[in-house]
């Protein structure tokens, strides 16, 4: 007789012990696993408690409407009792215009706003090349942004309609031939310059015509004298155009067809407008210069290499401030007597060189990280130097160095605050000093710094997150 007992049905699994599941397990593992960890947790809680306890009332008692710091404090005392502290965000109300635009005339704020919106329209074909849906979405967001902000700043109806018609045109082109949008990216610098600084419309057009002439000469001459000499000849003709013909042609065209916006002087620029103008221009010009410098440093040609190394090491060895002072004090010695060009332009040039030297080192790291076989394979395919760089080497090297490139960009954007040392009105030191010198807001310090710092944080943090997204998107290895 079989006395063996065998269970025929499965038991349901038992729940894990209370210490091994849910919140308890999480707490045990993450906060209280060892005595040292417990001490760390207690320390962290203490720090957190101190921070919150000391600043929470200040945040909660914030005042958003008041005419002066004294009034703010009275309101806080009235609502929260004697000795209470409270933030006085009312400071932002009269001053936000200066923080964003500096002394740019308020009735013309629509110009920097349009330039800013169109910047994204110009970036769209670069950021989302070949992705019609993303491109269209970005353009629609730009259109929405422009409708709201232009309406709020009471832009002239004509400008409103023109800008929106432009965007609508882009959206239409994006559906049919997205590739053509790159032309707008190419003419955007001239448009942006004209919108921001105003003046005759002919000066940016004639200046851009120089590039057209360069290209035309190159195309006409290259079948006869070859690639490099034709490029040199085109460059020479363009330089001659800019040096000798630019001004008379502009004058002639302006007298024939006068069409201009009210000119704005550089000392009226300020706030985040200035930071973004310098930052974006610096970023877009420093990348190609940085790539060239990095290639020069890797080159076999001794003289090219020496010059590149000398430039990179010199620029990286001195603080940015000294370069900015070079822009404001020394360029008048180095340029022909009587030359005097715009201080913002001078600063942009020096900031661009500064960022380019750092980028060159970053990109060199990317170039060095590429396996030697990639270079040899490109040679074996019979590609010449520039084709090999453009098709094989740079796409990989730049992809490797994206995080470092973006952190250089973030550094450049943060460094735009240093222009306050050469008398430009950056948001941090320039505008905040004016606010702190105002009789109504004398003695205020946390609020303006937190306000400016928060905007910087949003922009820089956004850039670093975008670089992470880009890195993830371009990742092709299967690790």
């Amino acid at each position: 007789m079989d006395k063996h007992f065998a269970r025929t049905d499965m038991l349901p699994p038992q729940a894990p012990p209370i210490t091994e599941r849910g919140a308890v397990k999480w707490l045990r593992e993450n906060l209280f696993s060892t005595p040292f960890n417990i001490a760390l947790t207690l320390f962290g809680v203490a720090v957190l408690y101190y921070l919150i306890a000391s600043s929470l009332p200040w945040w909660l008692n914030s005042v958003w409407t008041a005419g002066s710091l004294g009034e703010c404090r009275d309101i806080v005392t009235a609502s929260a009792g004697e000795g209470a502290t409270g933030a006085c965000w009312a400071m932002i109300r009269p001053w936000w215009g200066a923080f964003i635009f500096g002394f740019y005339p308020p009735e013309l704020w629509w110009r920097p706003i349009s330039a800013f919106g169109l910047l994204f329209a110009a970036l769209a074909p670069v950021l989302f090349s070949g992705q019609t849906r993303n491109l269209t979405n970005l353009l629609l967001v730009v259109a929405a942004f422009l409708i709201v902000t232009l309406y709020l700043t009471s832009a002239p109806v004509l400008a409103f309609v023109l800008v929106l018609a432009l965007i609508a045109g882009f959206v239409a082109v994006a559906q049919v031939q997205p590739g053509k949008l790159i032309w707008f990216t190419l003419i955007y610098p001239a448009l942006c310059f004209w919108l921001l600084w105003g003046g005759s419309i002919w000066s940016p057009i004639v200046a851009m015509a120089g590039f057209g002439i360069l290209y035309a000469v190159f195309r006409l001459a290259s079948p006869f004298i070859g690639f490099s000499p034709a490029a040199g000849a085109g460059f020479l003709v363009a330089v001659l155009w800019w040096l000798y013909l630019d001004v008379p042609v502009v004058d002639a065209l302006q007298s024939m067809l006068p069409f201009s916006l009210q000119a704005i002087n550089s000392d009226q620029f300020g706030g985040f407008l200035l930071a973004i103008v310098i930052g974006v221009t610096g970023i877009s010009f420093s990348l190609p210069i940085g790539i060239l410098l990095a290639l020069g440093r890797q080159s076999d040609m001794l003289i090219v290499k020496t010059l590149s190394v000398g430039f990179i090491e010199f620029v990286r060895g001195v603080p940015l401030i000294t370069l900015l002072f070079t822009a404001s004090l020394l360029l008048q010695y180095f340029l022909p007597p009587g030359t005097n060009f715009d201080i913002i332009l001078r600063v942009i040039i020096l900031v661009t060189f500064f960022a380019a030297a750092y980028l060159a080192e970053v990109i060199r790291g990317g170039l060095a990280a590429l396996p030697r076989g990639q270079y040899e394979a490109a040679d074996a395919l019979g590609l010449d130097y520039w084709r090999a760089q453009r098709l094989i080497i740079l796409p990989q090297a730049l992809k490797i160095s994206i995080p470092a490139i973006v952190s250089t960009f973030i550094g450049l954007f943060k460094d735009t605050t240093l222009v306050s040392f050469v008398g430009l009105m950056d948001p941090l030191r320039g505008v905040t000093q004016i606010v702190r010198a105002d009789i109504n807001w004398k003695g205020i310090y946390w609020e303006p710094y937190i306000f400016v710092g928060a905007i910087f944080f949003l922009i820089c943090f956004g850039m670093s997150r975008y670089s992470m997204y880009l890195e993830q998107k371009l990742k092709t290895d299967h690790r």
Partner: protein, 425 residues
């Protein structure tokens, strides 16, 4: 048989300068050199013309004129009758001392934060992430200005420290109290810290251009000697261990040799601290550290520490998990795993970017001008430049000095780097 590399016999044509890869690089280099030379000549020519037009000449004679301005913080003795060169030295010393303290504090804080970010502790890890992201994404200038404003506007006035007889009788505490056992007082005029004093110091020797503090030299010499002897002891212990397999006990020798001589020297020289005390409306005695210096050191270290933390974290993460697992398999405790296995390997990844952070910090000291800290940029590139109107000379000299500081820091750190790198076999 014709080889592919044989030179064609049809002679040299001019177009080969452009199309033949053998000659093209020479052509390009010569063109670049000519363009560069032309650019330099153009700049020099402009400079000469501009100098002439302004009636200025290029010489550094102004450095020996009387400076006539005061500098708040001076590590090199200086008064306003000294010349501009002396002021330059004072500024240079101020730059270097901020960079020195900044690097030390930033490294300590950065390493702690970087390691804590990797810890298993969720709360502390998040706190450190918030710290790193906030400090990395906001301009350094903001931290400098904010620290300075807080130091000079929130801190109490010296008279708030006073305890009057009525207050003592009523048992009231003063509005502000000194820190660290009544030795440090932070006021709105500066931070008062104790100063080391010697009753029987060795005095100073005047060498004409500078004076040597023999007491200080003696202390440094004794410490250096102790460290050297300690190293010899450890080396001989290691030799004995290699030979016999048994390591002699050295810890008491090390402690003795490291601490006994310096303590003896300090006692012999009558070392004591002079604590700042409130006299009337201000503190006397001790050392007054001005707020610009404190603000610079605090802001620079907090800002750079965030970057260093990221470098340390990346360095430790770069070491594959297999390394620590292998160490655990060998039976090493977590502490020894860190010291013997992880850190030596992580250091090789950490040091090169760390060097560039030190360089950045040193260059960022030039932002001291925002809080009127008279460093090299404030003296030579600021007041001296404005007084003498010698923009060209001052700026070139200043760039040269910054360049040599940067290059020497990177040379020293590169030497250290090559000493810890893996030796290729």
């Amino acid at each position: 048989m014709a080889m592919a590399t044989d030179v064609p016999k049809d002679g040299f044509r001019l177009s080969m300068l452009v199309y033949d890869t053998r000659y093209r690089s020479y052509t390009i280099q010569i063109v670049v050199l000519v363009l560069f030379a032309m650019a330099v000549a153009w700049l020099l020519n402009n400079t000469v013309q501009n100098l002439e037009a302004r009636g200025k000449e290029f010489n550094f004679g102004f450095l020996w004129q009387r400076a006539g301005y005061d500098i708040g913080q001076q590590l090199v003795p200086y008064n306003n009758d000294d010349n501009h060169f002396r002021a330059l030295l004072v500024g240079l010393a101020n730059t270097l001392v901020v960079a020195f303290f900044g690097c030390i504090f930033a490294t300590i804080l950065g390493v702690i934060v970087g390691v804590l970010r990797l810890s298993n502790n969720w709360l502390v890890g998040r706190l450190m992430t918030v710290y790193v992201e906030i400090f990395r994404n906001v301009p350094l200038l903001l931290w400098i200005l904010l620290t300075y404003v807080i130091l000079s506007e929130i801190t109490p006035q010296p008279r708030d420290f006073r305890v009057t007889d009525e207050m003592a009788a009523a048992g009231q505490a003063p509005a502000a109290e000194m820190m660290f056992f009544d030795s440090v007082a932070v006021t709105n005029r500066g931070t008062n810290i104790p100063s080391p004093l010697f009753d029987r110091g060795f005095g100073t020797i005047d060498l004409g251009f500078m004076s040597l503090n023999l007491t200080f030299l003696a202390v440094v010499g004794v410490i250096a000697g102790s460290v050297y002897v300690n190293r010899r002891i450890l080396a001989s212990a290691r030799a004995t261990q290699e030979e016999t397999g048994v390591r002699p006990v050295t810890w008491w020798k090390s402690i003795l040799i490291l601490f006994a001589p310096i303590l003896a020297l300090l006692v012999a020289m009558g070392f004591h601290l002079e604590v700042p005390t409130l006299q009337g409306f201000n503190f006397t005695g001790g050392i007054l550290v001005a707020h610009p210096f404190t603000a610079m050191v605090i802001a620079l270290s907090l800002y750079t520490a965030a970057f260093i933390a990221e470098i340390v974290r990346a360095g430790i993460q770069a070491i594959s998990r297999g390394q620590s697992e292998a160490a655990f398999a060998l039976g090493l405790r977590p502490g020894r795993t860190m010291n013997l296995i992880i850190l030596p390997q992580a250091l090789r990844v950490i040091i090169p970017p760390l060097i560039s952070q030190y360089l950045n910090l040193t260059k960022n000291t030039s932002l001291g001008i925002a809080v009127s800290y008279l460093d090299l940029r404030g003296t030579l590139g600021g007041i001296t430049l404005n007084q003498t109107g010698r923009e060209l000379e001052c700026m070139l000299l200043m760039m040269l000095i910054y360049l040599s500081i940067s290059l020497s820091i990177s040379a020293v750190m590169n030497m250290y780097n090559s000493s810890v790198q893996l030796k290729a076999r």
